[in-house]
């Protein structure tokens, strides 16, 4: 669905570990014609398909050699949604029941698949996902005319309800089998339909809240067609934007931010120069400076340049003594950003009454190289 090809990819397990998965597209045949997808019916490409047993053999042999920790399986749609879903389930079932496979399985489910099949899928898979792909309903109509919004929503709802049902039963009967223990996720393509960051993050928030989503993934659109509804071939993949969206996602899930604090009608898009936490702080200078030795955990978490790891260290460290710049530096705080927003056990702190633009300028200057050269797809830029 949407994505192409075979290879290795990474995902997160129930307990948050990063695992490497063998990524396989069961077939690139498809009866649909989504404009943003190479597999679309109207695209003139070679079509091929794996046999169920082939995928099973490959997976189990790679797994037993410790090349991979699991399988990430998706497929173009042949014949019908249900027919395709059945084949995906068949792979998962064989692996579990015939090969004794206890690795990780992520099934990218097919929009429009029946409730019965979604139920069965959850018995074998750790994670299920139905990719919404296009964050706005108008965009979906334009680019994926065969797909209806309900086709995505219905399987998500089923999965959510089953997860809730199983957790409830688990409370009563300890031996209850697991249903999709790593939950469900979805993915949105970024930069295909001119949507704003606000559109994307508000819809992500909606999915987190209403469908028990574990993760929402943001994937920069890679131009693949000359279709006039889409960005032209050769347009840049919005990878920095993708990264800023992930950072925002983290602020919402782990740092106690509300989406409307970061994005609203007045600020519908994220700042590309600086990370979203810094962006928020510069807009809210009245909350600062914060006293490192006194502030609550939730307040510490909002300081630019301080990640959750450092928050934890600060809280433990300050039980023993008042912390100074030296201590903070050793704990891994990014002082080049943080120093404008904090006071600590030192008489030496930023006293000038700087405005947001000055601070931003100074931070950019001091960290120029980092923002220009160091690009990380992983999400560690907060510390």
């Amino acid at each position: 669905m949407g994505d192409t090809g075979t290879g290795i990819c990474h995902s997160y397990t129930e307990d948050g570990r990063c695992v490497s998965l063998l990524k396989i597209l069961l077939t690139n045949h498809c009866i649909f014609d989504c404009a943003y997808c190479v597999t679309r019916k109207s695209n003139d490409i070679q079509r091929a398909a794996f046999k169920i047993q082939e995928v099973v053999d490959l997976t189990i042999n790679f797994y037993r050699r410790n090349y991979i920790e699991g399988l990430f399986l998706s497929s173009g749609i042949f014949k019908s949604a249900d027919h395709t879903m059945e084949r995906l389930i068949a792979v998962a079932k064989k692996l579990r029941e015939e090969e004794n496979f206890n690795g990780y399985i992520h099934l990218k489910s097919i929009p429009g698949a029946s409730d019965e099949l979604m139920y069965e899928a959850g018995l074998y898979a750790d994670r299920l996902s139905v990719n919404i792909e296009i964050p706005t309903i108008s965009g979906l109509k334009l680019l994926a005319p065969d797909k209806k919004h309900e086709d995505f929503i219905k399987p998500m709802l089923k999965v959510k309800n089953e997860i809730i049902r199983y957790t409830e039963e688990k409370k009563i009967i300890r031996s209850t089998a697991k249903y999709a223990p790593a939950g469900q996720s979805t993915q949105m393509i970024v930069g295909a339909t001119g949507e704003s960051d606000k559109d994307i993050m508000y819809s992500a928030t909606h999915f987190y809240k209403n469908y028990n989503m574990k993760r929402v993934y943001y994937s920069g659109y890679v131009p693949i067609s000359t279709d006039s509804r889409l960005p032209a071939l050769g347009s840049e993949v919005p990878m920095l934007r993708e990264n800023r969206l992930y950072q925002t996602d983290w602020l919402l899930r782990f740092y106690g931010f509300n989406v409307n604090e970061i994005l609203d009608t007045e600020h519908p898009n994220l700042d590309m120069d600086i990370d979203p936490k810094l962006m928020w702080a510069l807009r809210n200078l009245n909350h600062f400076p914060v006293d490192i030795n006194k502030a609550d955990k939730s307040v510490l978490a909002r300081i630019p340049g301080i990640g959750m790891g450092s928050v934890h260290k600060i809280i433990n460290g300050r039980k023993f003594r008042n912390l100074s710049w030296e201590h903070l530096k050793k704990m891994g705080v990014a002082l080049n950003r943080a120093k404008y927003f904090i006071i600590c056990n030192s008489t030496d702190w930023e006293r000038r009454d700087l405005d947001a633009a000055r601070i931003k300028g100074m931070i950019l200057q001091s960290s120029n190289s980092k923002y220009k050269n160091h690009y990380s797809n992983q999400l560690s830029l907060f510390n």
Partner: protein, 241 residues
């Protein structure tokens, strides 16, 4: 004069803990704890040979554990680093920990604590790396075999991971540097020492001990891997220009 005393132990973890026990008993502010066979004596230092005593070791272990579970893990991991003087540093760390009134969290603003945490983290990272990058090859007598050359002595740390994951296949992980391995026979993990002269490393030096299909899977894998890395590089490049 505040002479340091040198305690010599047999190189086992329990031996080290026994040394810590003795040093505590003698109220030594500093103890130079060294492995037998690797002793570098200070010119006039007093030495004492420690006889490993599991009971005493246990008492130290339990005492530390009561203080902090994180600390116990950090001590064990840092110990596996085999770094020079790690024993003395750990002694210092344990003294601090036991002297502190607070149970649980560690003091991140203290140099010694920070140092041990850093070493433990490095070892932890290597443990993690080994768990992810050990590559097994299937031998004709159905043992999945891998050899590793870790910087730190991580075999004891990764044993549990592989025992859980591959409970239904026989496997052997061999440390080329330290010349010992772990062998799992479907029931239990055993430490084995063998001197592998003929190291079975890769598909270039093919070895007859492995199954024929072994090399097919290795090729398939490297093809998958190449195609993934390439797409990633392309993506990255596009971003940069």
């Amino acid at each position: 004069m505040n002479a340091t005393k040198t305690l010599i132990y047999d190189g086992s973890f329990n031996g080290f803990l026994t040394a810590v026990f003795i040093a505590f008993e003698q109220k030594l502010p500093h103890a130079d704890i060294q492995r037998q066979g690797q002793i570098q004596n200070g010119l006039f230092a007093e030495t004492e040979t420690i006889f490993t005593n599991v009971e005493k070791a246990q008492r130290v272990w339990n005492g530390v554990r009561k203080k902090s579970n994180t600390a116990i893990k950090h001590i064990y991991f840092a110990y596996q680093s085999e770094q020079k003087n790690i024993e003395s540093l750990l002694y210092h760390y344990i003294r601090k920990l036991m002297g502190s009134k607070i149970n649980g969290p560690t003091n991140f603003s203290d140099d010694c604590v920070l140092k041990i945490n850093q070493i433990a983290h490095k070892v932890g990272r290597e443990k993690h790396r080994m768990e992810a990058f050990v590559r097994f090859q299937l031998t004709k007598d159905t043992v999945y075999f891998a050899n590793i050359e870790p910087d730190y002595d991580v075999l004891p740390l990764i044993s549990k991971h592989f025992r859980n994951r591959y409970a239904d296949q026989q496997w052997l992980i061999y440390d080329l540097k330290r010349k010992y391995g772990l062998f799992y026979d479907l029931h239990k993990v055993e430490i084995i020492s063998l001197d592998l002269t003929d190291v079975h490393t890769n598909s270039i030096q093919k070895s007859a001990v492995f199954t024929d299909e072994e090399y097919e899977y290795q090729n398939l894998w490297s093809n998958y891997f190449k195609s993934t890395t390439n797409t990633f590089q392309r993506k990255k490049k596009r971003f940069k220009v």
